[in-house]
Structure formats: C-alpha cells, structure tokens
C-alpha cells in the first residue's frame, strides 16, 4: 500500500453530465429564492457505480462553490501524512496524562469492593492527617450511574448507594502519588451490604434483588449509549422500547421460509490505552482542565454547571488524547472529583484512573441476549423482522441492539423491542456504534441462514432487500476484491482438522451532524495560515483533515496550515463520536477558509493595481495586506436539502481458519468496503478501518469482562486476562472506499469510525459457519465455546 503522496492514487474518471432521472427524494425548487441563499448544482452519486449527476440545492449565499469529485482535487481525497505524526512518534506529544504543572498534586481514588451496599459513614480523618495530603473529597453523586427518578423513593443515605464493585467513594490529593495511594487506604468506610445480582438472566427473575428501589434512568451527561427517557420499568427490567410498522405476524405467515435464532454477546470494556483522567487547575479567574476527552465542550459545559461557573471561566485543553472509543464524553466522576480536590487544595491536581479502575469505571459495551425471527418469500424478499433484545449495562442503560434490524433492510413488517436489565455492575457507556456490533452479530447471521435455506448466495439476498446504493456498490467491489465467488463453498467443505470458510456481513450507521462545529481561519500578512477549533482528535486524524480542507481552499500545502485544536478558548467543536466529527466540522473549515480568502481579497484587491488576484500566490496576496491579518470564523451550516435520514455503511468479507481440535479461530483475511461521503484522507481512512476491523475481531474472539459470580468483583481488570488482540492475531486487511456524493454540505464528507467495526464479528461468525457447518451464537468465540458448539466436549461445561 502506498504511503502518503498526494500525487498518486487518484482515480481517472470521466464524469458524464447526462440528464438523468435521479432517485433523490429531495429535489429543490429553483423558483422563489430565499434571501441570503443562492442555488447551486452539487454532485451526487457513486463514481464507478453510476454516472455522476448534479442536483439543485439551495445553499447559504456565503457558502463556497460546490466541490467537484475528488479526482479533480489536489489534497482532499489523497493520502496525506498526519500533521502531528512526528510528535507522536518521537514522544514529544504531550497527552493529558503527561501534564505537569508547578505545585501539582497527585490524586487517588478509594473505591468500593462490594457490589451493593448502603454506606453509613466515611471517615477521612486519618487520610487528611497523612503527610503530604492536601485535600480529600467524598463523592456525593456517581455521575455515571442511572438515577432513581423519584428521589423520595431512593435509599435514604448521606452517601451515594454503592451499586457496583469498583464504584468510587472518595479521593485524596497529595504531594506524591505514593502518599495519595497510602492515604486513600486509610479512609474508613462503614457500610451495610445489600443483596446483589450480577447477570441479566438472573436480574430478570421475579425474585431477583432490585438494583434500584424504583424506576431509574441514566442521565445524558453520563455518555450512555441510549436507553430512552420514558420507558416502563418492572423490577430490574426497563423496557420495552418498541418500534413497529406493518404487521409482523401477517408477514411471518406470508413467508415461505422463516429463520429464528437466539444470540448472546459479552460485556466489552473500552480499554483505551490512556485511562480516564484530568489535570484540574482551579484558579481564582479560571478553571483550566487538561482532559483526556472526546469532547472538550462537554467537559467544559458539565463542569460549568456542576461548579456553577460561567462557561467563560472554564477552559478545557486536549491537544492529544490516548483513545476513547465512546467512553470519554463529559467530565465524568474523575473530572468532577479532580476539580473538587483542586479547589480544596488550591493547587493543580492530576487524577487518572489506574488500569484496574479504568476497567471498573471506564465504561463498557453492554452484553446482549437477542432473539431474532425473520421471514421471506421464495424470491428472498423479507416479509417480516421480529427482534427482541435484552442486555445489561450494569447500573446504566443503553443495551438495545435493534438498530441494524430497523435500519439495514427494506421490510414492511417490523417489530423490535429493546430492554435494559439493571445489574450490580459498572455502568455501560457508548462504545463505538452502541448496539450495532451485537445487533449485526444476530441479524446478519439470521440473514446468512436465510440465504442458505433459500438456496441463494448471501450477497444476492442482500441485493434483493437492501435499498442502499452505497452498499450495493460495496458488495460488488468486495465480491471482486475478496474473490468471493471462488472462495464461497458449501459449509464444512474442508476435511479438517483445520477448516477454512468465508463470510460476509454489512454495517449500517447514521449520518449525524453536530451544529456546534465552528472554526476560525487566519491569514497573516506573511502568508502563514492558522486555524483553530475546540474539536479534539482521538486518533481519527481530524487535525490533518482540517489542514487538507484549508489547503485545498487556499491553494497552499497542508503542511503549511497551522492547526490548533482541543482548546475551548477556540470556536466550539463537535464531539469525536457518533462518527460525526468529519461530517460536522469540515464544512465549517471550508467555509471559514473561503471567507478568510474573501476578506483577504477585499483588502488587497484595491492595492493590486489591476492585476488578476488569481495570478498571485496566497503569500503574495497576503503581503499586500494593510493590516496584520484577516480572519473568518464560520460555523456549520445546516445540511442542504430536506431533512431526512442519511446513512453510512460498509460491507466486510472475512476468511477464517478453524482448528476443530483446539477450538482456535484465526482470521486470515478481511476485505472491508466502506462509504463515508467524500473520503477526505485515504491514509487515515485505512487506519480507521483497520482499527474498526481489529476491534471487531477482538470482540468476536477474545474480550470478555468477567465478574466473580459470588462476590461481584471483576476478576480480570488488567490487560493480561482481559484479552485484546495483538500483532499475532492481526490478519491481512484490505480497505476500500467508495465516493458517495450526496450534496449535503460544502465538503460532503462523512464519518467512518463506527461503521468500520459494526459488521466484523458477524462476518467472522458467518465465515465460521461456512467453515464448519456450525453456527456460533455466543461471543466471544473462545476455544471453550467453539468446542462446545462443535460437540467436542464430553464432560465439563463452558463459562
């Protein structure tokens, strides 16, 4: 694969502008023009799948002209090295956990061990007296847990009820990390244990201990994956969240073939390498927080609210951060406690979870117990989809997995019900496409089984039921790149003991736009260009994409664009989540650059003595500025066209080898074909897809958050027994991207972080079936589960 080189890798493509009926739902009227707007012809279509055409859009008058397809662009859509690459590879990049401030103190938590208890007293006196200790804080409110809605029904207690092992109780700030740790252990907690329940199955039983005494909901700030507000709750079971259309029973009755199945997936912890944490510096005029966060704005806003500060007096800094995957929205318990400590001590406080605490409290992907039933007529057309999911996000919510069932395929008759089951375990938070990897694990295997029963190629079954033009093209490309037709054989074709097989699965995700996306672009008199935004880069590379967009607009090289991110002093930026970052901010970047250029031209044109500005470089133009610089700030303008759901997606093909004697599954090859609107940086997109696929393999085969069933304590809160895939498990991954122009913004870019990981486990499971003729209905596919499924166990049972 070629390295960064903006001259290579451009598809030479003829764009035919034939008039053609476009199956677009939104056709803008060209009649009465709204003031402040103008009409533009903007490209739509998928090069390679069809001829590109244009569609009329009404755009704000000050938008730059629409971009042509990527093959006519110089920097956008090419391979550009990361701006910050050389700082990361040399250790020069300073992460929040690397921050060192004068007089900085070190914080340490004291956490609960028992999973359910009412605390009657917390005696911090010994800790306060410990040499080196400057502040102690007892937690008043666990920000991540669901809260009982009717406060009068909550257990009456001075202290938060402990509802999971690892729940933080208090924290200490001291002059050394060791002193803080030693002092924290001296905090005396008196409590009364309460009955606890750990697994979703147990918690659903009539006689299960109640995790909450009354209905509860997880606040939004917790960054949970969802779990609606007004949902009934009975005991520990919250739900259903029901969506229906048509008549599922009629549809099933009308089906020639029905496939039914139950599927189960495990709890997965995010395990970003940099743990949750902040360095909080409470000063009289400003609270400054160096935060490892996916959303500087969410940290600022939450701290401003909790500490009753104006937002203008809270500054959050995240120049770099070591991964999030959905767990790091909001200030969290760690952020809030650090600020309390800093305020009390009158000094900066560094508070980061250690690896154990990170597993305990850093969030997780809830588990799932899913039932899916689909029916189709002989021609493959789906007549009904019935889908039920239960799952536990511990003391949080958001375990629902019905997203793919609802959004992937066309089906008139649909019924989905999602339930959250409370258990005494740590709260789940959003984890890279919440609900979708497990939901696909179920749905895409049901589809795979349906295809077999119908005697249809699995790709053809998708062609029949999938309206998405992007995925249609992705299937076509993937079939070719993967060699599907040569590799797809009858199940269990190899004699063994090692059996090979191939499988395919699809992803659906959503085009999400965050309107709090703004950027300032400055052109200085010496021709240097700066941009700033509060947006953060969690590893996707938005920093470099920003440089590319500015470079393209101003006609300079990306490496000459100085990009400053991760500072709430700058214009607001979107969160890095939901795969919305690129979608949301790149149009604002482009618009700001365009406006800055307009300002520049306004200033210097009169001084050009009739010369055409297009004949001058940016530097030459800027040198004529009568003032030091021009600048423009632009925010994200609304999407062009009528509001409607738009999607991101992908199709992944996997080849596996199953050692039927040991139960070891090896993924040998993955071809991943994805769309993300206008691809911005191919190098970084490949990295995102690699990352999503590898996380998906790790989820499918190795990871599992294990609680001791008798005490509720996590038995593997480390990176040795919590198993994340490594170099030896890495297969060959081929990532391919289609351009999918939808004419929605001035860049038409979309995200990819989540789609990249959604279908991988399902593709592996389908490949496993193809290899062995046995379907894996439970994750992770450990040797124990594989051998049990293959019928190889004569005694003993699996976990």
């Amino acid at each position: 694969m070629a390295p960064a080189n903006r001259q290579q890798d451009k598809k030479k493509q003829q764009i035919k502008e034939e008039p053609r009926a476009v199956k677009e739902k939104a056709q803008e009227q060209t009649a009465a023009q709204k003031p402040g707007t103008r009409n533009e012809s903007v490209y739509v279509g998928i090069p390679g799948a069809e001829a590109l055409t244009t569609i009329e859009r009404t755009v704000p008058a000050d938008e730059p002209p629409p971009l042509p397809p990527n093959n006519q662009l110089k920097y956008i859509g090419t391979r550009v090295s990361r701006q910050d690459g050389r700082f990361k590879t040399t250790g020069a990049a300073k992460y929040p956990s690397d921050t060192h401030l004068p007089n900085m103190l070190y914080g340490k938590f004291l956490s609960s061990i028992v999973p359910h208890a009412r605390v009657s007293s917390v005696d911090t006196s010994a800790a306060e007296k410990y040499p080196g200790v400057r502040a102690v804080h007892v937690i008043e409110n666990d920000l991540l847990s669901a809260q009982v809605l009717d406060k009068t029904k909550e257990v009456q207690s001075k202290y938060p009820v402990i509802r999971y092992s690892g729940q933080p109780i208090a924290a200490v700030a001291a002059t050394s990390a060791q002193a803080a740790q030693e002092a924290a252990r001296l905090i005396k907690v008196e409590y009364e244990q309460l009955p606890f329940v750990l697994g979703a199955d147990e918690a659903r039983k009539e006689d299960a201990p109640n995790v909450f005494p009354a209905p509860a909901a997880q606040p939004e700030t917790a960054g949970g994956g969802g779990g609606g507000a007004k949902v009934p709750q009975r005991g520990n079971v919250r739900g259903p969240e029901r969506r229906e259309r048509g008549d599922v029973l009629k549809g099933l009755a009308a089906s020639d073939v029905t496939v039914e199945g139950e599927f189960r997936t495990q709890v997965q912890t995010h395990s970003a390498l940099e743990a949750h944490g902040v360095v909080a510096d409470w000063k009289p005029n400003m609270l400054t927080v160096h935060a490892s966060t996916q959303s500087t704005m969410s940290v600022r806003d939450e701290l401003a609210t909790i500490f009753k500060l104006p937002k203008s007096k809270v500054r959050v800094l995240t120049e770099y951060m070591g991964g999030g995957f959905g767990a790091k929205f909001g200030a969290g318990n760690v952020g809030v406690v650090a600020v309390h400590l800093s305020k009390k001590a009158g000094a900066p406080v560094k508070l980061f979870s250690d690896r154990r605490e990170e597993h305990w409290t850093g969030g997780n992907r809830p588990d799932s117990q899913q039932r899916v039933k689909i029916g189709a007529t002989k021609d493959g057309k789906l007549q009904a989809i019935e889908f039920t999911s239960h799952g536990t996000a511990g003391v949080g919510t958001g375990a629902g997995t019905a997203g793919p069932a609802r959004a992937m395929y066309t089906c008139a008759n649909l019924k989905t019900e999602e339930y959250d089951v409370f258990t005494n375990a740590s709260p789940g938070t959003a984890f890279r496409a919440p609900g979708h990897p497990p939901g696909c694990f179920a749905l895409e295997q049901a589809m795979d089984e349906l295809a077999e029963r119908l005697g249809m190629d699995p790709l053809l079954l998708r062609d029949v039921n999938d309206e998405s033009p992007a995925r249609r093209e992705e299937r076509r490309i993937g079939v070719e790149k993967f060699g599907w037709k040569q590799k797809f054989r009858k199940p269990n074709s190899d004699p063994g003991p090692v059996k090979h097989g191939v499988g395919v699965a699809q992803a659906v995700w959503y085009r999400i736009v965050n309107m709090d996306s703004a950027v300032e672009v400055r052109i200085n008199r010496d021709g240097s260009v700066e941009t700033r935004s509060a947006v953060q880069d969690i590893g996707g590379g938005i920093k470099t994409v920003i440089a590319q967009v500015v470079a393209e607009e101003l006609g300079i090289e990306p490496r000459n664009v100085q990009v400053s991110i991760g500072d709430t002093v700058s214009p607001p930026g979107p969160p890095s989540g939901g795969s919305m970052t690129t979608t949301s901010i790149t149009p604002a970047v482009r618009n700001a650059a365009y406006k800055a250029k307009q300002h520049l031209l306004e200033q210097v044109k009169p001084l050009l003595k009739g010369r055409d500005p297009a004949s001058l470089t940016l530097q030459q133009l800027a040198s004529k500025l009568p003032i030091e610089m021009v600048s423009a700030t632009a925010r994200r303008s609304p999407e062009y066209g009528k509001r409607e759901g738009m999607f991101l997606g992908g199709v992944q093909f996997a080849q596996v080898a199953v050692d039927t004697e040991t139960g070891i599954v090896k993924v040998e090859h993955v071809v991943a074909v994805h769309d993300c609107g206008r691809p911005m940086n191919i190098l970084q997109l490949e990295s995102q897809v690699n990352g999503g696929v590898l996380q998906g393999i790790s989820y499918a085969l190795y990871e599992n958050r294990r609680l001791d069933r008798n005490t509720g304590i996590m038995v593997n809160p480390n990176l040795e027994q919590y198993k994340i895939l490594g170099a030896m498990e890495t297969p060959k991954i081929d990532a391919h991207f289609i351009e999918h122009y939808i004419a929605r913004s001035s860049t038409d870019a979309g995200g990819i972080g989540e789609p990249a990981t959604i279908p991988t486990a399902a593709a592996i499971a389908n490949a496993f079936y193809n290899a062995t003729g046995v379907r894996m209905r439970e994750l992770p596919m450990t040797p124990a589960r594989v051998l049990a499924a293959l019928g190889s166990l004569r005694q003993g049972a699996t976990a």
């Binding site: 001791d708 593997n716 198993k723 005694q795």
Partner: protein
C-alpha cells in the same frame, strides 16, 4: 501500590543469603516480584538484588549435561544453540513465555519460582486459601483457566512453562541456603496443595536457587514443547505439554495442575511402542484419565488431548 522497602545489591551468593531473614525477598529479573509488589501480595522490608552477583547467568554443557545459572534469561535459553539442538523442549518453553521484552529480563530461576497467576490469588481483594484465608474462590467461581487435576483444595495451575520442560528433561535443582547446599530433583521441588497449600515449592525463606542441571539426553532422544493460548500475542497457556521421547518417554502437562503434571499413564502407552498417530492418540487419551474438571474448564480436556498428541508427534519428528 508498592509498599516501601530497602534495597540491597548483593555481591555474592553468601552475601545474598545472609540477607534472607524472612522479611526480605530476592529480586532476580524482577518480573514476578514487581507484579507481586504492585498487587500487594508481598510487602518485604528489603529487596535483595541478585542481578549484581557475577557469574550466575552461565550456560555450559559438559559430558554430564547442561548447567544453567539461575540468572540466565529466557531469551538466552531460547537463543542458545546447544539448548535448541539437544534440549529443545526447554528452548521452546522459554521462547514462548510472556513477551519478547519480558524474556529479555526474566530469568530461568525466577520463572521456576514465580507464584501462580490465578486471578483470585493475584487480586488482593480475595483473601484466598493460599494466602492464608479460608477458601479457594476458584472452586465455585470463575475457574475457566484453572486446574483439571489435583484441584480439590486449590485450583491453581503451575505458572512456569520452563518447569514443565525441566520436569520432562529430568532436571535437578541446586539450592543454597544458610544451612548449606542441597540438590533436589525438580519433580520433588514442587509442592502440591494437599501437602502445603501456602507454597508451590520447597525453597525455604533463607534459600537461593543457585543452579539447574539437566542430564544429557540419551542419544536418539528428542524433546518437544507446545503451548496453546487463547491468544498468541501474549497469553498464558490454556494447555501446554512437554514430551521427551527415547528409551523412557516422559509426558508432562502444564496449565493442568498445581504442579507440573507428569502423566504416567501416557508414558506407559508410549513405552516400548513405535510413535505414530495411533499411539500418540492413545497416549493423549490416557493422559486425561482421572481428570477432575471444574464447572468452567472441561473444555481443556479435548484441547489437552490434541496438544499432547501433537507434541508427541512433534517430538518424534525432531
């Protein structure tokens, strides 16, 4: 959190032994010691560093066999041509342990003496039987990675892959202490839970492991070691086996029991018979006789059958 301690760089073996007063512990490569200190399993008053004692890392072969100093690193064992050629099981056991970085530092002595990896033992929140408490949490708990033999009192699996190979190769350990020096066949060095659940070997608090002797394998004898983990990149084994084939075949299972588990039954099947698919399969089956799996680790049985069979055949091919 590591509790504070004094540090002493030992100059000689005697110097080190003089420091062993029951409140000090020895640091060889420091790999297991560091983990135990960080998990609060040990809180010594002093760490006695034996990395500073010259001459403890020698590997030499003479007519009698191989002499390995306790401070030889796993990487040195893996890369040593003599060990790879003639004591293959040892090279492979050392070479597949942990990660390359750990193998650069971890010593063969430390590896033999390391304490169990059981996730209850390693977690200071569980005061288990082995640590002086009143119960083994694995029995009724999460015992996926625990023993399938000899597990009724304490269900740890012995953590040392090198020990499995050394038992197969019939090694003898030299131990030096305040009361003098003793030689002990490695099989007798390890302690079963029913003998004493609080320890895994007979090393006294004032003793140092000072040498490992492996008798020269008989000519025509071959050895092999295989490890299977759920992950390959860095994982503890769910099954590991060392086999020595020759006049007297030896089959030893690791990750199966609280001590390296010799299978006399498998050895009887092999003894005097040609080694082929059938005898290997029969021996492997025999190796699992008497297994007493726990609720979650029955899956290990078919895996061990496979790994025992494959290791026997691998040894036959070398």
């Amino acid at each position: 959190m590591i509790a504070n301690f004094q540090w002493q760089d030992a100059r000689t073996v005697q110097d080190a032994i003089a420091q062993l007063d029951g409140k000090s512990i020895v640091k060889a490569g420091g790999i297991d010691v560091m983990d135990r200190l960080k998990e609060g399993l040990d809180s010594p008053a002093k760490l006695v560093n034996i990395r500073t004692i010259p001459g403890l890392d020698q590997i030499r072969e003479d007519a009698a066999g191989l002499h390995v100093g306790p401070m030889a690193t796993l990487d040195q064992l893996d890369k040593n041509e003599t060990i790879r050629a003639s004591y293959t099981a040892l090279a492979d056991a050392a070479g597949h342990a942990a990660t390359p970085h750990i193998r650069n530092v971890a010593t063969v002595g430390g590896n033999i003496l390391q304490r169990p990896r059981c996730w209850y033992f390693r977690n200071e929140q569980f005061h288990c039987l082995k640590k002086g408490g009143d119960r083994c949490f694995a029995q009724q708990g999460e015992n996926d990675y625990h023993a399938i033999f000899g597990n009724q009192i304490c269900a740890i699996v012995h953590p040392s892959a090198v020990a499995v190979a050394l038992v197969a190769l019939g090694a003898t350990l030299e131990v030096t202490g305040k009361r003098g020096q003793r030689q002990i066949p490695i099989e007798q060095f390890f302690v079963r839970p029913d003998e004493d659940v609080h320890r895994e070997n007979t090393l006294a608090a004032d003793e140092l492991l000072t040498a490992i002797y492996i008798p020269k394998p008989a000519s025509g004898s071959h050895s092999a070691y295989m490890k299977l983990g759920e992950k390959e990149s860095f994982d503890w084994p769910i099954a590991e086996v060392a086999v020595v084939l020759g006049a007297k075949p030896v089959v030893v299972l690791g990750a199966a029991a609280p001590v390296p588990w010799r299978s006399a039954a498998a050895e009887r099947v092999l003894a005097g018979n040609p080694i082929n698919e059938d005898t290997a399969r029969a021996a492997a089956k025999a190796a699992l006789h008497g297994a007493t799996p726990l609720r979650n680790n029955g899956y290990k049985l078919p895996i061990f059958e496979t790994v025992v069979r494959r290791t026997i055949l691998a040894a036959a091919r070398t």
